[in-house]
Structure formats: C-alpha cells, structure tokens
C-alpha cells in the first residue's frame, strides 16, 4: 500500500466559526492507481490533497506513506520527503512567472540534490514529452493555459515522485487541453505512479480507476 489515510479529520478555526473540512476520511491508494475524488466546491477536496501532501497536518487520524507518517518527520525531513516522493499540480498552475518553461520544470531540483546534467536531461525529456519544446524558453505569461498546465505537470514529475496530487488541474482548461492533461496523469499511473486527483470535473471520471465522492468533509462513496 503506497498511501493509507486513516480517519483523518481537519477543522479550520475561524473567527466566524469552525469549519469542518474533513471528518474521519479514510482512503487507500496503491502504486499504479488513479483515484479521482469528486465533490462540490468547499467539500474538503483541496484540504484532503494538502493533508495527503504533507503540507497541512490533520487534527486527528493518520496518513501513512509507504508505512511512514510524514507528520512524524521534522519539517526539514518532511520537505525533503515532499520533494522526492510527491508531485503537485494545481488549478492555478503556480508557475514561477519569471522562469521560462525549462527553468520552471527544473525548479524542483532546488530542493533535491541531483547531478545537474542528469536533471537537465530529464527536464528536456519532460519538456519534449509534454510537447513544449518550442515553448521551452517562454515564460508562463506567453503560454496558453494548456501549456502552462503541462509545464506544471512536467515540473511535478521531474523528481520522479511516487504520488502525484492534482488539485482541479483541468479547472481552467478547455476540453482538449483537459483531456491531454488527464491522459498524462493516466499515463503516469500506468507507469507505476499513483495519482490522487481532486476535481468536480466529470471529464476526469473516464480516466480514473476509482472515483470517490466527498461531501461536507465525509466520503460518501468509495467508488470502484
């Protein structure tokens, strides 16, 4: 089991009142599996993703990645764990605006020590793989939404993570671009990686091995 999420709860403490984002959420994910978590806005999908990615500690329950709880690691070790094992893709792309496509793809090498030639070759391969060769020296502002998301996807894959967490990656994309991105996620899973996709986009359903429905912080159906 690559990922084991066990009764994870998370509540945001706000002045206007507590907001329960996750409530006893349990989920397992194996390597090579593509799981889509669907649900309406505000149902806790992004919180689940952040919690799974080691960015947001749960109030209760535990998350085990390869049997290890990342929240038991030091902040430094947890950051390193994220850099090596997890890739992130977001709806807003979160590309570094002043870096060109190639440098954005190379950005994770800042966190993980690796030989500069090896990582550069891999970045080139990824840029080529995602059809961005002609755009490799363009900054994000000069790219289309689809190209930006493919750049973000290439960046997420640079350090060959075991798990890819995608938060509404098709939210800002047209149908064709969305299909392209979803195809790449599926491809990643088929190559042995695990994908946890949170989305309310129905187009993702055909690409996922399993679809889970989340509503008001609870899993309503574990899918199949």
């Amino acid at each position: 089991m690559l990922l084991h999420i066990d009764k994870v709860s998370k509540t945001y403490r706000r002045k206007s009142g507590d907001v329960c984002a996750l409530q006893d959420v349990s989920l397992d994910l194996d390597a090579g599996e593509f799981v889509a978590v669907r649900g309406p806005s505000g149902c806790g999908k992004s919180t689940l993703l952040m919690t799974t990615g080691g960015l947001l500690g749960p109030d209760s329950g535990q998350i085990l990645f390869n049997g290890k709880n990342p929240y038991e690691l030091s902040p430094h070790a947890r950051a390193e764990f994220r850099g090596r094992s997890i890739g992130f893709v977001f709806q807003q792309f979160h590309l570094v605006p002043y870096l060109d496509v190639l440098d954005n793809v190379l950005a994770p090498s800042l966190a993980v020590a690796s030989t500069s030639n090896g990582v550069r070759d891999r970045a080139h391969d990824l840029v080529k793989h995602f059809g961005l060769m002609k755009r490799s020296h363009h900054v994000p502002a000069e790219l289309s939404s689809g190209e930006r998301q493919r750049t973000a996807l290439a960046r997420a894959l640079l350090n060959e993570p075991q798990l890819l967490l995608a938060d509404e990656p098709t939210g800002n994309l047209d149908g064709k671009s969305a299909d392209t991105v979803l195809s790449h996620l599926q491809e990643f899973a088929e190559n042995g990686g695990a994908v946890l996709l949170v989305t309310h986009d129905e187009r993702a359903v055909p690409f996922a091995d399993r679809v889970i429905h989340l509503c008001e912080g609870r899993i309503e159906s574990n899918g199949s």
Binding site: S46, T47, M50, G53, L55, L56, P75, H76, A79, E80, F81, R82, G83, R84, F88, F90, Q92, H94, L95, V96, P97, Y98, L99, D103, L106, A107, P108, S109, L110, A111, V112, V119, R155, N159, D167
Partner: protein, 451 residues
Amino acid sequence: MSVWRLVVREINHRRLNFLLSLLSVTVGVACLIGAQTLLKADRVTTGQLLNDRQAEIEIAVAEKQKAVEKAGKELQDAIRKQMLGLGFNVLILPEDQELSELHLNGTMSATMPEQYVDKLAASKIVTVNHLLPSVTKRIHWDERDREIILVGTRGEVPILHRGMKKPLLAEVAPGKIVLGHEIHKQLELKVNDSVTLNGSDFTVSAVHSERGSVDDVTVWINLAAAQELLGMQNLINAILALECECSGDRISQIRAEIVSILPGTQVVEKYSQALTRAEAREKTKQSAEAALAAEEKAGQKLLTQERSARRQLEDRHAGFAAVLTPLVIFASLLMIGLLTFANTRQRTSEIGILCAIGLTTPKIMFVFLSKAAVTGLIGGLCGVGLGLTTGVLLGGLPSNGITLPDLFATGGLLTTVASAPLLALAMTGIASWVPALYAARRDPAAILQGD
C-alpha cells in the same frame, strides 16, 4: 538550477523593485561614506589651511622683523650721527666750577688733572660709552682780533674694559684746527687754509656748518696744543661723556657712578635734546618691537580665528552627519525592508510552490537573502562611488588641490570604504531578514488553496 539563477531571473523580472532597493542601499551607504569623506576632507583642508596661514604669518612676521631690524639700525645710526652733531650727554666738571660761568661765557676756569679721564676709562663704568677730555677757554684771537671759545681735545679715550667702539668724534690732529660756522664765515677761512692762533700755526682741517649754538664761535685744536697755548699742561676743564643708551631717568645713576670714581667732580646734563632723541630712539625701538609683537599677536589671533572657524565648520558638518547619516541609514533599512516585504507579497504563489516542491524554510529564506546580498553588494559599491564623489565635491577638495589618496593617507577612511560593501550586505540582510522569515514561514497550504 541554482538559487542564484532564480535570483538573477527574479531581479530581471522585477526590475523596479530591485532598482528601488538598490537606490535605498546606495543612498544609505553614500550618505555614510559621503559624510566620512566630508569630515575627513574638512580635517585635511583645515590642516592644510592652517599650515598655509601659519606659514604666511611666519613669513609676514619675519619680513616685519627684518624691516624693524633694518629700520632700527638705520634709526640707531641716524641718531648716533645726530648725537655726534649735538655733542655729549653729560659733562664732568671740577666740583668748584661755577656753572654760571659756563652758561654765560661758554668757558671754564676750574681745572682737574688730565689723568682723571684715564682713571674713568680704566674703571668698570657701565653707563658711559664714550669719554672726551677737553680744555675750554674764552680767549682773544690776537691775529684776528676777535673773541673765540677755544676747545682743546685729544679725541676719544677708549674705555678699557669694553671692546673698542667706533669713535663718535675724531681727534683734532696736532697742527690742525677746526672752525665753527661763525668763525670761518666771518674770517672767510676754508679747509686747508693756514692760520696763526696766538702765535701757533695751524691748518684748517674742517669747518662746521651752522649749529645755532656756542659751537658756531668755537675753535677746536689738539688738547696738548691747547694746554700749551693756555698754560694748562696736564690739566683739563671737563670730560665730555656720551651715554648712548641713556634715558632721562638714568642721569642720576650716571652721576652717582662717575662721582664715586672721580671724587671732587660734578656731573651736569648737557644737551637735553640729545637725551630726548635717545629716548625717542628707545621709544621708537620699543614701538617697533611692539609693532612686531602686535604683528605676531595679530597673526596668532588670525590663526586662532581661522582654527575656530574651521572647527565650527567641522563641528557643524559632524553634527549634521551625526544626525543625517543614522536617519538616512534607518530610512534606507526601512525602505529595503518594505521593498523586500512587498517582494514577498508579490511572490506569494512562488513561495507556496517552492514549499510544495520541497524547499525548506532556511532554503526559502536563502532565496530572499541571496537577492538581498546581491542588492547589498551592488548598492554598497555604487554607494561608495557616489559617497566618495559627493564627499569630495562638498568638501571642495578639487579647489584645495587635495586628492583622494591624500584623504586615504590620513587613515580611517580606507577602512570605512573597504568595509562599506560589507556594511551594505549587513544592512540589506538585517532589513530583509524579517520579511524573508515571514515569507519562509507562510502556510503553503493556505497559499496554494488561494486563501
């Protein structure tokens, strides 16, 4: 991919933020270096100005001294000559000589031994400089049938305990005669004429111009000749003494000194005009010395005023720098801090994704502090250049002929300049630390969820 590449790309992307930060550092460092350069320039300029002024004053005083000495010598010589024309200061007479006879008839009847003059010359008398023994008698010049005053003098008797001085009055040589103005005019005699005086032959060696005194009806011959002519062998009527240095208040001292050596004599002041002139000479000398002292004093006063003015200027600059420099540096720090903070706000999304892809808090801080270091280093170097230029121009160095190496040679400034880029690094580091820490500690989950 390195942090430095990220920093350079970010600087290139957000040029305005970088330029403003650079400007802040440059201004802060320039203010510090400019103030230090200006203060150093003040000190060097002050030193140079005071040295120049001192030299000018010394030259002026030396010139004045030279002029005073020259004028003093000229005056002394002139007075000496005038005194020669005027006669002697004091007259030493036998105690029983009636002064009325001298004043009414211009002649003397009382006598004293000629050896008195030798005795006086051999004494340690300090107030009298020149001695002249003489006989003076009113006689009838038979060959010319007229009354004259005959003065026999043997010339100056050197005072033995002193070095020889140039005699004030030349001796009338034997066989020679010197005529007063009235005599030679009325008798139509001139130099080298031969005359017979009561049976003795003489040649006129000199004729005096008009003096308006008894000298005009006086005839001078050699003392021995006069003594023989008058039947006064080894006797004299008076010793004329010139006291070159004397002034009015010393006449009693001279009297006492002479009478103690030559008992049975009296000392009378002769020709008070001479004393007045001597006093005038003394006064002139004193006045010249006072003028010299005043020149020196004025020079010193000028120097003191200059030093005081320069000190005031330096103090004003130092006070200004003491207030302005910390203020500008503080404002620069604040500006850098605000710009870094604004930069972290602009880079919120970037911070979130850097956290997500595995950058640790120290590494994110390093990203921001690296940019601060680049800003600090470049700004520091620019600030040094700007500060030195400003300091040099404000300090007026080009017009004073002072160069930067002159300033560096005085020490201190070189250390400040050398350490300025490090100071700039520290400035930007300190100012950026809190914003960088704020950026590194931001919750990536909140950022990435678009909170």
